[in-house]
Symmetry: C2
Subunit: 261 residues, 2 copies
């Protein structure tokens, strides 16, 4: 039982304290409002009615936060004060398991909202870390609540946000409970592809922002297994893998992997 350095610190970037500013908060003085945001349809697809509610919606985002690769947005146990929406870049969320190890619970692309799991307890249940240089919008939760109270369609959207998080987590559960390794990785790639497409990026060619180990952690696999599968998918012509650059070559083939027992 030799504890190598690698074993102790599973995600080194995550824990490495940045000098003098673990989280840097560059406040944009006149934050552009959600109303005119290009990500609005993805992030907050809602039609707020009434002058007062519209004003509140404009003022929903008070600040933006710039994160460098590896910076921590919030930690498990931090007081929950706001929801965060990814504007540029991407993040991962990491959950501590009972036995002390960590698991990547999700990857978050532009337009996706982070932090919902903290709503009930006033405390965040996960750690959020930037995978690259990233900018997030801060929506203070008291403002969110006030707007939800004022406007019914925003209230609906907030409920939708929470319940889709439940459904997403559940589908992750069924994936881990029923699928084999190749199916999990195929699911992961197809999911990423879809999400990029929705955002107007290429659905067939993208760059993975996370390591093999992080992918494996998310899928309940070891990094070697992930690496081997990438190689095999490449050989079989399903995808083309060059390091972190992924090109989907045979989407149908990937989807068929899922049907197979």
């Amino acid at each position: 039982m030799h504890a190598t350095a690698a074993q102790v610190t599973l995600f080194p970037r995550a824990d490495k304290p940045r000098p003098a500013r673990p989280v840097l908060r560059d406040v944009t003085p006149h934050a552009r409002s959600c109303t005119s945001c290009s990500l609005r349809k993805i992030c907050m697809p809602v039609d707020v009615e009434g002058a007062q509610a519209q004003q509140m919606f404009r003022d929903l985002v008070t600040t933006r936060i710039r994160l460098h690769k590896g910076d921590v947005l919030f930690r498990a146990g931090d007081r929950f004060t706001a929801l965060y929406s990814v504007r540029v870049g991407s993040c991962k969320t990491v959950t501590l398991t009972d036995d002390g190890s960590e698991q990547v619970s999700g990857y978050h692309l532009p337009g996706e909202i982070i932090g919902v799991e903290g709503i009930g307890n006033d405390v965040h249940a996960a750690r959020a870390i930037a995978l690259e240089d990233t900018e997030v919008c801060v929506m203070p939760f008291d403002r969110v609540q006030q707007l939800a109270h004022e406007d019914a369609s925003f209230q609906r959207q907030l409920y939708r946000l929470l319940s889709t998080a439940i459904v997403r987590e559940r589908s992750a559960t069924t994936m881990l409970g029923t699928m084999r390794a190749e199916q999990r990785l195929a699911t992961f790639l197809l999911d990423l592809s879809n999400r990029y497409q929705v955002r107007g990026y290429s659905s067939t060619e993208f760059v993975l922002r996370m390591t093999r180990e992080e992918i494996g952690s998310h899928l309940g696999l070891k990094l070697e297994t992930v690496s081997r599968l990438f190689s095999r998918f490449d050989e079989e012509g399903l995808v083309e893998v060059q390091g972190r650059v992924i090109k989907l070559r045979d989407r149908i083939g990937l989807q068929q992997l899922l049907c197979a027992s």
Copy 2:
């Protein structure tokens, strides 16, 4: 009265259409209000203030539904109209996976609320089935929403309900992603034990209401593995297993299983 003669594959009870009443809805004419319910502290731990809100809280549950073993409370795809709280008995929820198979996503004891995953989409994402003769309270969601709008502490409770569902699903994900078979089963038993204890039942001796196959489905294991593990736990003196009757003999030992790599 009694369900019989089913064959099929995975969950025969679930798919068998009951004659003329797939779901039976015995409306209790004067449903007792939540205010005086013995399960209230577990089910709805909230202090509603104000006369009007208190009245709405009293009228929250309109009807109760009696279910026999195997009866379906709602199906995946059913329109979402209400939250349900288990009053007596127990239920399982079953989720359809992408490839058509099914997985048990949860077991629900008295005082637990079912159906939250439907809130956002107006549609239930799972099927809920009674594991024994069961009674559930119906909370029509429009009433829930109105009360949440009226009373801040109830609104909080509703958020808490949703976010704890997220956290629970996530911990299931980490369980399936990181634990080995024996750890999953130990986790399952300890979790049940805790939940029974909170409800005032014995935490060391209880009856499993589900089959080995259903347990396995929930834990991402095959029924044979579950059976073997029960036998092994029994041999090792961790638990005493007599069919579905479980007696925890060495709680510490079970907990230590979780720490071990």
